[in-house]
Amino acid sequence: MTEQSALITADLVDLDLPSANRRAAVGALAERLQKAGRVTDLTQFLADIEAREQQMPTGLEGGIGIPHCRSAAVTVPSLAFGRSTAGVDFGAEDGPARLVFMIAAPEGGDTDHMTVLAALARRLVRKAFKDELLGATDPGHVAEYIRKEVGA
């Protein structure tokens, strides 16, 4: 139970993310979420992600992209993490994203889970957190590190 419902697990980590363009990167992470049974309707989910992206690109300074949405297609609040050596353009002013965090929140999710996502968002602006993820080699270790950092 704990492993399946944890915010992020090893199979949600992609250390060699397809980097052709944003859709390829987002698609790869979304498929991981679907395979893990966390997203029911892939088309719906990708549409929701894209809708958020259209509102305002989610790329952040420092090589980070955080495609995210609340979607009825999401069953469990989840995080999928992808790392790209070449970088994927998420619309940040200072260039492509090397760390991509896909945050999937269910529609009307309860506050406890939102708190976890909030904790994650807070870590994203810390340098040590980014450095650890840039240097990591093992998906299982990445998932465990993120879980430990956000207290999930």
């Binding site: 305002m56 929140a105 269910p106």
Partner: protein
């Protein structure tokens, strides 16, 4: 330095918190204290009254509307997009510090102004429960005002175009002629009436929303509709909003089983809340509240002659007392709430309240124009802006003057506003819109009398301010030859 910040983004799950973290880190590095209110989906902990009173400046880093902005009117504000806070937090902190340092208008007078503003802020935050209730009510009122404005102006335009029998015109769904101006007048009137029909539900809905967020919206709105249905008016709306908010707030604390936790906010809370509140409104408190509303309306309509003039003067005193603070807002809310009763006296009250609220900035503008020497350069600049602020019914335009020299300025402004309020009543000016200042004068009943009332109050206030300031100035000048800003500070102390 003590800073506050609000962060908010469209989805409320990522940028809100990243911005908060970035600001906290940057503030700590720069050696300042900061408290961040994250208006995101993990719920937000509002600032305490102490935090609001002690803060030197606030940063609003948001891509969506910041909730309850009224709390920050007394603070120097730095506004930015939420991304700016993530990427450039140190810059925003610097800006906020600079804004806080620039805010006091130099030297001793500045600190007096700051002290006065802090006092105001402390008063505003008041004791725990009372200030909370006031906050909820004001949130509701703030959402209602645009409805009253749009609806009221549409109705007034309908009357202006089609005469006073336009309210009896047949529905435009049945008869509408593109070439008949009566049809257009009827259209405007009927649109306005529909907008007015939403007043009580919106009031109730957003009071509930202020208390318990989105799940309380439906119980609040439907409770408000029931209030209309049972003729309990805005008093019913206030009651249903508070009840709905309180009920949902309490229900949110239930530990729901995991299976239904996800649907609590979208289904269970609205459903159960609406059933309970709707039921209570219909069968328990609806009738008594309707009786109270009828009584109030009858009383308002019965007010005439010297009673009405006294009421106008009293409301005028209240409008000028704290210029946008709780007393002012109480008078204003009373007037706006009255509009929904459709009574003639309510329209008189609205007109009187708006006129009295326009006078303070206008009076200060006039005083700074005719007696430049009594004011600092900064005040003269404020004075120029005050013409427009006053004409637009933004009473807050007089705050800088009152903050710097409250003992002379506030009584002067109260006197003038009382005159204006009373005269507006005496002349029988009526107003259907809750805002708009000089720009809605063409739609006011007896506009000439209205303008006379405003001019009279402005003259009275300006004259008293000039006299009081001259007296203080001379005494001070005889006693000492300090810098120009010193006399006011000394007089304040």
């Amino acid at each position: 330095m003590k800073l506050l910040a609000v962060t908010a983004c469209p989805t409320g799950i990522a940028h809100t918190y990243m911005a908060a973290e970035a600001l906290e880190v940057a503030a700590e590095e720069a050696g300042h204290e900061i408290v961040v209110e994250t208006q995101g989906s993990a719920g937000s902990t509002p600032f305490t009254p102490e935090q609001l009173a002690e803060a030197d400046a606030i940063i609003l880093a948001a891509d969506v509307e910041v909730r309850d902005k009224d709390r920050f009117v007394h603070l120097p504000t730095v506004t930015a997009g939420v991304k700016k806070a993530i990427g450039g937090a140190p810059g925003l902190i610097e800006q906020a510090v600079a804004a806080a340092e620039a805010a006091p208008k130099g030297g001793a007078a500045g600190s007096a102004a700051a002290a006065a503003e802090t006092q105001l802020a402390v008063k505003q935050s008041g004791p725990g429960v009372g200030s909370k209730v006031r906050g909820w009510l004001m949130t509701g009122v703030s959402y209602v005002i645009p409805f009253v404005a749009a609806g009221g102006l549409l109705i007034a335009l309908g009357f202006a175009l089609g005469g006073y029998q336009i309210s009896d015109a047949p529905s435009v769904t049945q008869s509408f002629s593109w070439t008949s101006h009566t049809s257009w007048a009827a259209l405007l009137f009927q649109l306005g009436s529909l907008a007015f029909g939403l007043l009580v539900p919106v009031l109730s809905g957003f009071i509930a929303y202020a208390i318990a967020d989105r799940p309380a919206l439906v119980p609040g709105f439907v409770g408000g509709l029931v209030a209309v249905e049972v003729h309990a008016g805005f008093i019913g709306g206030l009651a249903s909003g508070l009840l709905a908010g309180g009920l949902v707030f309490w229900m949110k604390k239930w530990k729901a089983p995991r299976a239904i936790a996800g649907i609590m906010p979208v289904l269970v809370l609205p459903l159960v809340g609406t059933a309970i509140i709707g039921g209570i409104m219909f069968v328990v408190i609806g009738q008594p509240l309707a009786a109270v509303t009828t009584g109030l309306t009858t009383w308002l309509n019965g007010l005439s002659g010297s009673n009405a003039i006294l009421l106008g003067a009293l409301l005028g005193l209240m409008m000028a007392f704290d210029m946008g603070g709780p007393v002012n807002k109480a008078a204003y809310a009373f007037a706006v709430a009255g509009l929904s009763t459709n009574s003639q006296t309510a329209l008189l009250i609205m007109a009187s309240v708006m006129a009295a609220g326009m006078t303070p900035p206008l009076a200060m503008a006039l005083a700074t124009t005719v007696r430049k020497k009594l004011f600092t350069e900064a005040e003269r600049e404020n004075g120029r802006a005050a013409w427009l602020l006053g004409a637009s019914f933004i009473t807050e335009g007089a705050i800088p003057f009152a903050a710097a020299d409250p003992l002379r300025v506030i009584p002067s402004l109260m006197a003038g506003s009382a005159v204006t309020g009373a005269l507006s009543m005496a002349f029988g000016s009526t107003l259907r819109a809750p805002h708009g200042g000089i720009f809605v004068v063409p739609l006011i009943g007896n506009p000439f009398g209205y303008l006379v009332a405003i001019v009279a109050g402005t003259l009275v206030s300006a004259a008293i301010v000039i006299v009081l300031k001259s007296v203080g100035q001379k005494k001070k000048a005889a006693a000492t030859t300090e810098s120009p800003s010193a006399p006011r500070a000394a007089a304040h102390a």
